[in-house]
């Protein structure tokens, strides 16, 4: 057997829950991520796909250690072979691990964009930032503007450049492309590709599944706060027959170019999760076992699947 590739980030059995007060009376733990796994190697782009509410964005916060105070994290989070403790997260974020957030709301409304992209570290990477802005087609005066003066696409390009300015080995991009034109989105993704080719790793959290398939090496599909399948991106291009989990297949069929066949039912809400497999209530191939026991993760054809029957 070939020696296993070095891993940069390794997550398994991760669960995140929020302590909530119901009408100020009852304390309730809301489990939003359960039994999640994800492995990221240097030099690859891992796309994380799934509908909203599947825990994609929370994963980013959990890796960075910036979840709100009422959140509890359990499970294994390892970065470069060592456990990611809160102290280590604090030391690494912004330097080793960078985030590309979702929207312009993540920019300080009263700070000029240039200063924000430069960040708080000294010396300021102003020269590098100018080159990046130029590459992204952001005019010179963009740096002197306030966030509210930017278009949605411009703001996203600024957000992407904040991560590209760091020396981070791991970039987590949370929906970086919506709002950009196709050319700009392709440019951003090409930059992520370049970063990966330099030996860094990118986690691409996205709705734009087809774009992601194009640039990612592997795809992880999230459902109800857990990973149901990870597979090489090529399998997703090939179609349902190459995929392992019924939800991945359904996701593929729901794409417009594949016939736009949505699956009936809803993703379960945190707080009312089914007992067995999270997808069982909507699964066309479910068996009684699926309703009572959580299926384990199995390696199937170079990918992983959380299903008794996936092959």
């Amino acid at each position: 057997m070939e020696q296993k590739k070095e891993t940069l980030l390794e997550i398994h059995n991760l669960s995140v829950s929020f302590r909530m007060y119901d009408h100020g009376l009852k304390q309730q733990d809301l489990q939003v991520i359960s039994d999640l796994y994800l492995t990221v190697h240097p030099g690859e782009i891992v796309a994380v796909a799934g509908s909203s509410g599947s825990g994609k964005s929370l994963l980013a916060s959990a890796i960075l250690g910036i979840l709100p105070g009422n959140a509890t994290v359990r499970g294994h989070l390892h970065y470069q072979g060592q456990e990611l403790t809160p102290e280590r997260q604090k030391a690494l974020r912004g330097k080793e691990i960078a985030l590309v957030p979702q929207s312009v709301a993540y920019l300080d409304p009263l700070m000029k964009v240039g200063a924000q992209a430069d960040g708080h570290e000294r010396p300021r990477p102003t020269k590098k930032r100018r080159q990046l802005f130029q590459r992204f087609g952001l005019p010179e005066e963009t740096a002197r503007r306030y966030p509210f003066q930017l278009s949605g696409g411009m703001a996203r390009r600024v957000l992407v450049s904040t991560a590209l300015l760091t020396e981070a080995k791991l970039v987590i991009a949370d929906e970086p492309t919506p709002g950009m034109g196709l050319a700009q989105a392709l440019e951003a993704l090409r930059m992520f590709r370049e970063m990966a080719d330099e030996g860094r790793a990118v986690i691409l959290i996205t709705h734009d599944i087809d774009l992601a398939f194009e640039f990612a090496d592997r795809v992880a599909v999230f459902y109800g706060g857990t990973t149901v399948e990870t597979a090489p991106a090529s399998d997703f291009k090939e179609g349902p027959s190459a995929l392992r989990h019924p939800y991945s297949k359904a996701l593929w069929s729901a794409l417009p170019q594949n016939g736009f066949h949505p699956i009936p039912g809803f993703q379960p809400y945190a707080g009312s999760l089914p007992r067995g497999c999270l997808f069982a209530p909507r699964c066309p191939d479910k068996t009684p076992q699926c309703m009572t026991d959580v299926p384990p993760v199995r390696e199937v054809r170079g990918g992983e699947v959380r299903c008794y029957y996936g092959s």
């Binding site: 960075l64 912004g94 957030p101 709301a105 993540y106 300080d108 409304p109 708080h120 003066q149």
Partner: protein, 331 residues
């Protein structure tokens, strides 16, 4: 930038119109009120002089107050004199009201300015501390203190300070704006400040709780924002976040609020000046009221309204500077 200037000019004009109508209304209202008073200003004035008043003087006073004319005519006459800068003569001090206001306002301004800055700085700092330690013990303690302070009458607090620091500890003088028995020219700035410390501190205590609680709330909003989450994701520590994002987003609203609080400041100064026998407008107005010095009472009322309006105008202009950015981000 041109847009901002235009907007500020518009705010300035709109508010100026409002300010003029408010000032006119206050002048009419206060004139009506003092006319209602059982005290007759002319009689009071003449009584003060006893027999030492010539018929010519008497006629001049009667002319100013429009004795024996209908109320509206009297008001209009008084108003036209007012607009020419003639606020009448104080019967308590036997000098033109305008002179007294000018002189006393300087004293009051020193007091109010010190208290205003003190309240702003203390309040803002405490607000930041409360916001940074939200729901932990420093926050709980300070918050309780702020709420309690608003239940304590300023003048009683002043009395307590006087008792503690001036009578028992003898750290500060009992009152007045300068050592008794010295001429104005002989008083040094140091002495003036020394006499100012206790009253200014008392006055600032009356208003800093408001600004502290407001700052706490604003800072809490900022710290809950997505841009602070991103700042944390980029490795900024909590004090870096306060410096880079917190102050930037809460300082201007806090200053705005401070400008909008001129009415409370002036009201508080009336009490503080009376407790500390400080010769400012506040002690003048209560003396005027007690001694039926109608011209002075009217003069100070109008002047205090003008003072409050200037503060509100500044606050509005500041809003005009902050507003568009906030509005367009929210949209």
């Amino acid at each position: 930038m041109k847009g901002t200037l235009g907007r500020l000019a518009r705010i300035f004009l709109t508010y100026s119109v409002k300010m003029i109508t408010v000032l006119l209304a206050v002048s009419a209202l206060s004139f009506a009120l003092v006319s209602q008073s059982p005290v007759d200003p002319v009689q009071q004035y003449i009584l003060g002089f006893g027999t030492a008043i010539s018929p010519a003087q008497r006629a001049q006073i009667e002319d100013y107050w429009g004795v024996n004319k209908p109320p509206v005519e009297r008001y209009l006459h008084w108003l036209s004199e007012l607009l020419q800068g003639n606020l009448g003569e104080s019967l308590l001090y036997r000098r033109p009201v305008a002179d007294i206001i000018g002189e006393r306002f300087l004293n009051s301004l020193g007091l109010m300015l010190c208290a205003w800055i003190l309240a702003g700085v203390i309040g803002f700092t405490l607000g930041c501390v409360m916001g940074m330690y939200r729901d932990h013990w420093p926050d709980k303690l300070l918050r309780r203190m702020c709420y309690s302070l608003s239940s304590i009458p300023t003048f009683w607090l002043g009395l307590m300070f006087l008792l503690m620091f001036a009578v028992w500890l003898r750290w500060f003088p009992i009152g007045f704006s300068s050592p008794v028995g010295l001429l104005d020219e002989e008083v040094t700035i140091g002495q003036k400040l020394y006499h100012l410390i206790l009253p200014a501190f008392t006055l600032s205590l009356a208003s800093f709780a408001n600004i502290a609680l407001h700052t706490r709330q604003k800072l809490a909003d900022v710290l809950n924002s997505e841009y602070v989450l991103f700042a944390r994701a980029r490795g900024e520590g909590q004090w870096t976040i306060l410096r880079r994002h917190g102050l930037r987003n809460i300082l201007l609203p806090a200053i705005t609020l401070q400008f909008a609080s001129f009415a409370e400041l002036f009201g508080g100064s009336v009490l503080a000046e009376n407790v500390f026998s400080y010769p400012g407008l506040g002690s003048a107005v209560s003396a005027a009221g007690l001694n039926s010095d109608v011209p002075l009472l009217l003069g100070v009322t109008l002047f205090s309204t003008l003072f409050v309006c200037v503060g509100n105008m500044t606050a509005n202009l500041l809003y005009g500077i902050i507003d568009p950015q906030i509005r367009e981000v929210g949209a």
